[in-house]
Symmetry: C2
Subunit: 196 residues, 2 copies
DNA sequence: TTTTTTATTGACGCATCAATCAATAAAAAA
DNA sequence: TTTTTTATTGATTGATGCGTCAATAAAAAA
């Protein structure tokens, strides 16, 4: 009993299923059948809509990146001062939507996969550049360009590092603590300083 | 023409081959044949000495961890002040032996694999705890325990984050820059301060 | 010298999966 | 009403790769 207009519904369901499967397995080593099963369809249908497994994985990573971008833009929009812009970028990275086991596992797994796939590497570089640029959008109002660059680089690395440690479920248990560490760094680096 | 006493030689060769194979592929998705080929033996021999692929991978990670530990102990041994102890731990993390593409790719891949394997996760936690404790061995001479803990946590996350960014071959190109960023953080966090 | 141990491999079985395809059926268009 | 398009799957194929095993041979022990 096929209903018409199922394509977007299935695509969404398959991408969600991919994220949750990756989250549970902790790696991209999930079968198409597993994913399709979670989405309530056959593996043949997954192939029908995405062609190959690579493309489904790629679409999934793009989806995660898009969500992050949407959240970040919203947060930046409602940030007043330059200092608040920086904090809002950090806050989004550790928000409930982003800093959850499933998403973190996916990030980690995709970082590894990016070693093989040129397209995925391209995608992750876009993320890295966006993060840098978003941080800079606040930092350039507080520090000189040169110093701002270094602080942005460090903050980005710090965020990535805290993600990894969360994946290992060791140290830094919650988002609260993670934010506190990054903010502590930013405070000691920015406090009292402001461009004329 | 089998010579006697080959076991340790083969084990070493197979582990080295595993590292270089992982380095090239960028993931643990390397076949036993590929590894064995690089080591100049048949895949059957690899199975003979290591039993299963899991065990070869496990032995490889343990080897990397052991090397890192040896280097770190040596560095700590020749460090005078507390401040120098901290810097020496950082320096080893980005030394030529550790901060090379092959090893970094392996770290990343093993982080992912640790999601599946309990034993591997245990191993990586040992590393995390050692790193923390090594950093603390210097920091406790400079900061109060509470603050030292936070700085150690941040420094560890920063190191991990810089590793990842290196893996993506984007930003932070060389070890020199990576060290500079970590040291810059430590400076702003430690300078002028010292326990009575 | 015979036996046991150590080193080594080619061939093979077996399981897993990605991807394809033919078949079925409902909706929409002609 | 006939035809085409869209949705869907069970069955199958083909490839890949781990792990095993019997066979070979040299060294060491008996």
């Amino acid at each position: 009993m096929p209903k018409i207009g199922m394509e977007p519904v299935r695509r969404k369901a398959l991408i969600d299923a991919t994220i949750s499967a990756i989250g549970e397995r902790g790696s991209l080593d999930v079968t198409m059948s597993e994913i399709a099963g979670r989405a309530g369809v056959s593996s043949a249908l997954a192939h029908h809509y995405f062609g190959a497994k690579d493309e489904l994985l790629f679409a999934t990573m793009r989806h995660i990146l898009t969500e992050l971008n949407v959240d970040t833009r919203r947060a930046l929009h409602s940030a007043g001062t330059a200092r608040e812009r920086v904090s809002s970028v950090v806050a989004v990275s550790f928000s409930d939507d982003q800093f959850q086991p499933e998403i973190i596992a996916a990030w980690l797994a995709f970082y590894v996969e990016a070693q093989k796939s040129t397209e995925l590497r391209r995608l992750l570089r876009i993320y890295a550049r966006r993060l840098h640029s978003n941080l800079m959008s606040g930092l350039t109002g507080i520090l000189l360009r040169n110093e701002a660059d270094r602080v942005a680089e460090t903050t980005a690395a710090l965020i990535d590092g805290l993600y990894i440690r969360r994946a290992l479920k060791d140290g830094v248990p919650d988002a609260q603590t993670a934010i506190a560490l990054v903010e502590d760094y930013l405070e000691t680096k920015l406090n009292g300083r402001s461009l004329p």
